[in-house]
């Protein structure tokens, strides 16, 4: 298993646990009083699960298992794979922090942090598609 795949999958596993912890927090507030911030965690919960866990696991496995790009570069452009990893995680972490804050006490700096997280994640998605497209081919 390539080093980058190990990073993707281990990070995905961390998000999996984190997502379920946020899920517990969302339900806990129905039983006991929690700060309003806890009530704004719904989108973070869903995206920790679908982007942090599911998508990141898929990216890691695809990088490892998809048909070879070429003999010299079997997994395409490795730097693009690492760029995907860095952008996706920077964007997702920034989102998980700034989105609930923006919901309970909106401020320009928090709003721009959220907008930046959108750009980072979008760039990660495009980098993954660009590096994967040519590897999806008939044998």
């Amino acid at each position: 298993m390539p080093t980058l795949t190990r990073w993707f999958i281990r990070t995905a596993l961390i998000y999996f646990v984190a997502a379920l912890l946020v899920g517990v927090a969302l339900m806990t507030r129905l039983v006991i009083d929690l700060p309003p911030l806890a009530g704004a965690l719904g989108p973070a919960y869903f995206h920790l699960l679908m982007v942090g866990w599911v998508l990141q696991l898929i990216i890691g496995v695809a990088y490892w298992m998809f048909p070879k790009f070429s003999t010299e570069q079997p997994r395409g452009y490795e730097w693009l794979g690492w760029t995907t990893y860095a952008l996706l995680n920077a964007g997702l972490i920034l989102r998980v922090i700034s989105e609930p804050l923006n919901a309970v006490q909106p401020q320009p700096i928090i709003g721009w942090a959220l907008a930046t997280s959108a750009v980072l994640q979008w760039l990660a998605g495009m980098a993954f598609v660009a590096n994967t497209w040519a590897r999806v081919k008939e044998k």
Partner: protein, 135 residues
């Protein structure tokens, strides 16, 4: 990778790029408001990311990886799998675009039925391939 898997996975990648673009626009708008009309993209973001990308990718990889048969056709009834590809994409586009554009409910229902028929066709194709190696 067989031809149908190439079509399924590449189409899934297009949906991922589209779904990510709509999602990024919505998230950007949450932080720095651009236009309230952007919220109309939400159903397409959800439909494209969940059905167009995730479901279609799983179908593409399953068609490629599931055990094959010793005799031709080695991947079983490919017609059903191609039918699943067509129905899934028709359904995803109808439901995603239809919700965003305010299409009549009967059209949205038709889209969901296409998705259901797609999954039924794919399950029928895949069922006999879920077997021990060499069987």
């Amino acid at each position: 990778m067989p031809r149908l898997s190439v079509w399924l996975v590449r189409t899934a990648l297009i949906y991922l790029a589209s779904g990510f673009t709509f999602g990024a626009l919505l998230l950007f708008h949450k932080g720095v408001p651009l236009s309230p009309a952007l919220w109309q993209l939400l159903p397409m973001h959800i439909e494209f990311a969940l059905i167009g990308w995730t479901v279609q990718l799983a179908m593409g990889v399953a068609f490629w990886i599931l055990p094959r048969f010793a005799q031709r056709p080695i991947r079983g009834n490919e017609t059903l799998a191609w039918l699943a590809y067509g129905l899934l994409n028709a359904g995803t586009l109808i439901v995603g675009l239809g919700q965003a554009l305010g299409a009549p409910p009967t059209l949205l229902l038709a889209g969901r039925i296409f998705e259901l028929l797609s999954v039924a066709a794919f399950a029928t194709h895949a069922w006999p391939r879920v077997k021990p190696l060499g069987a």
